[in-house]
């Protein structure tokens, strides 16, 4: 089981309670598709992804970014057993969506960059460490049902 300090718990709850899911979700997914273009392979039916401007303005990307970010709520609410909370989502990503798990890290990095831009100086090294630890646990749980 993952050990969380009081600071880590508070930090994660704080970040997500103040988060604008529409903006952060859209920006993170769009940024991932721009910076790591091979990730577009999973979104063949999303229409125009031909350049950065198209991706940033694509409504399907925005909608899906929101879905993905709300997927993190499960972990925020179940920090003491993220592994169990994500069992179904892990099977989904492996068996149905066939997502290479390395992509979780790429999206996680983009989410970190977007949150850093939102929080500015408030994104201290300590806050960054807590946030990245949280993402690492989520990513590890999402990978667990891959066989």
């Amino acid at each position: 089981m993952v050990e969380w300090t009081e600071f880590e718990r508070t930090t994660i709850q704080d970040i997500f309670s103040k988060m604008n899911y529409d903006v952060v979700g859209q920006q993170s997914l769009a940024r991932c598709l721009v910076v790591y273009p091979w990730t577009q392979r999973y979104f063949g039916n999303f229409g125009n992804l031909y350049n950065a401007a198209a991706i940033m303005g694509n409504p399907m990307v925005a909608a899906h970014g929101r879905v993905v970010l709300h997927g993190l709520d499960k972990a925020v609410k179940n920090m003491d057993n993220i592994k169990a909370a994500y069992a179904e989502l892990s099977v989904l990503h492996s068996e149905k969506l066939h997502v290479d798990p390395d992509n979780f890290r790429l999206l996680g990095d983009c989410l970190t960059v977007v949150v850093a831009a939102q929080l500015g100086a408030a994104f201290t090294p300590e806050v960054q460490a807590a946030f990245q630890k949280f993402l690492a646990v989520v990513i590890s749980s999402l990978q667990r049902q891959y066989h």
Binding site: A30, R31, V34, V35, A52, I55, M56, D109, T112, V113, V114, A116, A117, Q118, L119, G120, A121, F123, T124, P125, E126, Q128, A129, Q132
Partner: protein, 143 residues
């Protein structure tokens, strides 16, 4: 993933914006690397203070960001331009190249924090590619 003319122009333009704050960027990036990825502290066991923003960290952050600035200048031929630095890292410092990716990530995070309007997705893409090429050039002499 080589650098297009557009990538180079984007990196140079972004660098021009951030160079007034280069020292802060270096300090923040190095501080975060040491704090968020504690395994990187193993290279600095000879320092008195490894906490974020300490004197040795700030001093070294300045040196490291100076190296990145040099890389921007030599962007058209990174392998030749960073030859001496590559030899330094290969034969003396012997930093495991996996750590270049870690530092690069922290540089990107700091750029997003300090320059949220300038660090657009296009700038992020160009910078990520550039730092990856710098890492490649730095590891060129390793073996």
């Amino acid at each position: 993933m080589s650098l297009s003319a557009n990538d180079k122009a984007t990196v140079k333009a972004l660098w021009a914006k951030i160079s007034p704050k280069a020292e802060d960027v270096g300090n923040e990036a190095l501080s975060r690397m040491l704090y968020v990825y504690p395994q990187t502290k193993t290279y600095f066991s000879h320092w008195s203070d490894l906490t974020p923003g300490s004197a040795p960290v700030r001093k070294h952050g300045k040196k490291v960001i100076g190296g990145i600035g040099l890389a921007v200048e030599k962007i058209d031929d990174l392998f030749a331009g960073l030859l001496t630095l590559s030899e330094l890292h290969a034969f003396q410092l012997r930093v495991d190249p996996a750590n270049f990716r870690i530092l690069s990530h922290n540089i990107l995070v700091v750029l997003a924090m300090l320059f949220p309007d300038d660090f657009t997705p296009e700038a992020h893409l160009a910078m990520d590619k550039f730092l990856a090429r710098v890492a490649l050039a730095l590891s060129d002499k390793y073996r």
